[in-house]
Symmetry: C2
Subunit: 192 residues, 2 copies
Amino acid sequence: MSIDRRAEVVQAAAKSFAMFGYKATTMDQVARIARVAKGTIYTFFDNKEQLFEEIMKDFVQEILQLAENAIDPDKPFAENLHRALIDVLNYRKEHELFSRLTMEMKEIGTAAAGFGISMMEEALLGFVANAVQDAIAKGEIKPCDPKLTAYVLVKLFITLVVDWPALSGEPFKEEDVMRLFELYLLDGISQR
Amino acid sequence: MSIDRRAEVVQAAAKSFAMFGYKATTMDQVARIARVAKGTIYTFFDNKEQLFEEIMKDFVQEILQLAENAIDPDKPFAENLHRALIDVLNYRKEHELFSRLTMEMKEIGTAAAGFGISMMEEALLGFVANAVQDAIAKGEIKPCDPKLTAYVLVKLFITLVVDWPALSGEPFKEEDVMRLFELYLLDGISQR
């Protein structure tokens, strides 16, 4: 019973953050959406910061699960990674909460919103760094710093999937992203 | 005489933007720094937006000149580009105005500051796209979209020279940047 209430409160808070943003969300609002007394919320969470952290933790867990599910150990590194990152980006796009936070972060630079996003990025980076380490061990990619390589990889992906389409007004098809990924990071542009 | 006055006004405005930022700069302040009457400024510029655009135009010209000077047609693409980008980034770092604007842009997202930075980025991208086109023509790099490749290249450079050091707290030495540049973009990480 109390676990259900707690889950309801968290869900209501997620809804409120997604609809009104972090700053405009109040404990009153969360109570109204969850249809519980404000006192009930305080039996679980001291303030909205705690609620927010809880939500981000769940969120990161879901995204990591998604990325892990996309990995097939029998497939080459590039293919696995591509599928995992596409899934994560689509999930991110679909989830209002995330777009909301990204916008809020850009507009007013809320510390909590920034924290949420960097928590997410940390988790994603850790995941990719592990995949890179495995690929090095399997001899699929050259020896390199897994964490830096993961960082470069995620940045390249965001460049191709988010930044360039925003600049040029034309998104790539998934197969183009894959091809460009191979050209720019895996095979290199140098003519030999 | 009038050309000197104009140059003095522009220099004073650049000083004020660098010291106080775009938002806090007023025509009064510029007049005070330039030691001219406010009316004198208005004979050359209608408002601070115009002053700002003038300064950014000069700035972009200087940076492009710098990048062009770094190019030696007898050297390989990677080496030229590396030298050009290092010079540009150092120039950018040294120029207070630029750091000021970047900060202001991040904090309050001033439209004019954003415009200045994107003008700069446009110019840099155009320059790199030309260099890429030349390298394709010379058979140094694979056939590819020069503009997209320039974009990926500049983003990778910023990742290695600005973002990663900010995240990890450790800047790379110049020779490391060169080596990583080769690993990640020119030769690729794929093991063959």
